[in-house]
């Protein structure tokens, strides 16, 4: 990486222009917790690293009409420490909390977690099941796309050359909604998901489920939404029978690989088990319970 260039532009337009002009490999530097590892291991030899942390407006967490918005450079710790956001979106926070150590969360961003495009990224399933929208800017202007449209495969995204995720919009959930994310790892901390499950549930005043979404991580080439989750839960009180259906739906949606962290069969089974447990937590939260 003898010719590696580092730039810290002051505007998004300048960042886009730098990235669009580059002919070789480029990397956007936000938290750097993936980029620096890739550089160190000589996995990549970029010609240009664009640090986006000096761009005003890409940071912070704020309210806007109909939801929350947080910037591409908002770190894991900032999200966890934000009282309003973490109270509203415990499922997203469950995912963020599992990204590496406290040291890593002090730098790592959700935008980086998404754009690094690991199928096992912990914050991505909760963003997907929560209907989060990514705002992307690039040489051809600005577009808003569902987070579920960003990752296309291991290390691959749908972003075009020069495009940057600048922020996320998290639309408010209706009253009596709850969200949760759980993953399976051999170790409690500092590990990569073998399976990750995110569930969002909305109830009516009588406790009947009116909407449900589920997303799975580490069981396919990218994090996936499971549309059949709604069929399993909507119209029920999220009782044992409904949870069993959800488990079956989760297992059926998996198309995992065998690797050193888990076999196909194990992942398919665990996805079902975790779907039930995650839904139980989301249900508790929808009912206003502490957990």
């Amino acid at each position: 990486m003898t010719d590696l260039r580092y730039e810290a532009p002051a505007t998004a337009d300048a960042a886009i222009a730098l990235l669009a002009k580059a002919t070789g490999t480029t990397r956007i530097l936000a938290g750097g917790t993936d980029v620096l590892v890739q550089l160190h291991a000589d996995m990549i030899e970029p010609e240009l690293v664009v640090d986006i942390k000096r761009i005003p407006g890409l940071n912070g967490i704020s309210r806007e009409a109909g939801g929350w918005r947080f910037g591409a450079t908002a770190t894991g710790i900032e999200l966890m420490d934000h009282e309003g956001f973490s109270k509203a979106w415990p499922g997203i926070i469950d995912g963020v909390k599992l990204i590496g150590s406290m040291q890593v969360k002090g730098r790592a961003t959700v935008a980086g977690n998404l754009c690094n495009a690991s199928p096992a990224a912990d914050s991505v399933p909760p963003l997907m099941s929560s209907g989060v929208i990514a705002t992307v800017v690039g040489p051809n202007g600005k577009r808003d796309i569902p987070v579920s449209d960003v990752c296309t495969g291991p290390g691959k995204t749908s972003l075009a050359k020069g495009e940057i995720v600048t922020s996320f919009f998290v639309p408010d959930a209706p009253p009596h909604s709850g969200s949760a994310y759980l993953r399976f790892t051999p170790r409690t901390e500092m590990d990569i998901a073998v399976v990750g499950v995110s569930v969002n549930i909305t109830l009516d005043a009588s406790g009947t489920c009116t909407a449900a979404t589920m997303a799975l991580g580490a069981v396919a080439e990218k994090p996936i939404l499971v549309p059949d989750a709604a069929k399993a839960l909507v119209g029920t009180k999220v009782d044992e029978a409904a949870l069993d259906k959800l488990a079956a739906v989760a297992s059926a949606a998996c198309r995992p690989i065998d690797d050193k962290r888990g076999t196909k069969i194990f992942r398919i089974k665990v996805a079902g088990v975790l779907a039930k447990r995650t839904a139980a937590i989301a249900l508790q939260r929808a009912k206003g319970g502490a957990k």
Binding site: A8, V49, Q103, G106, R107
Partner: protein
């Protein structure tokens, strides 16, 4: 190779340095500034030996570029004691024999200091979770947890 001129504050002192794009903050501290208290265990964010505090946030210095640090305030283990007076965490690490080879110790001290700033009375579970990113291959961790608890109690005046 591009050289970057960086102005920042380290342990309260104004510092400026030149670094290459390829140098991490850890490389800069150790190789350019001779602040070798901060250790390298893995250089991939897994072991926490390189933990420092940047603008009040605990981070792995191996996962930050030296070139990024313009205007930043950096705290390292060298700034922990005041003169000859050790920080309570440092004293209790010695008292409880919370180290053997000592490679993990500067990182654990920085991480523990940040924990006690945020939470002056952490439970054992909270200590263990907070320090999950700091690996120690020597002590078995129990003495480290005891040292953090003892320092916390002293600092609370308990």
């Amino acid at each position: 190779m591009a050289r970057h001129h960086v102005n920042c504050t380290i342990n309260g002192d104004h510092v400026d340095y030149l670094c290459d794009t390829s140098q991490s903050l850890l490389d800069v501290l150790r190789d350019e500034l001779e602040l070798t208290g901060t250790k390298e265990g893995c250089a991939t964010g897994d072991c926490g030996a390189c933990s420092v505090i940047v603008d009040g946030v605990l981070v792995c210095s191996c996962l930050a570029m030296g070139a990024e640090m313009n205007g930043k305030s950096i705290e390292t283990v060298e700034g922990m004691a005041s003169g000859n007076e050790l920080h309570p965490l440092q004293r209790h690490f010695i008292d409880k024999i919370a180290l053997q080879c000592g490679i993990c110790t500067p990182g654990l001290l920085m991480a523990s200091r940040k924990l006690l700033e945020r939470n002056p009375d952490p439970s054992e579970e909270e200590i263990r979770f907070w320090l999950a990113g700091n690996l120690c291959r020597c002590t078995g961790y129990n003495n480290i947890v005891d040292a953090v608890k003892a320092a916390a109690a002293e600092m609370r005046g308990a």
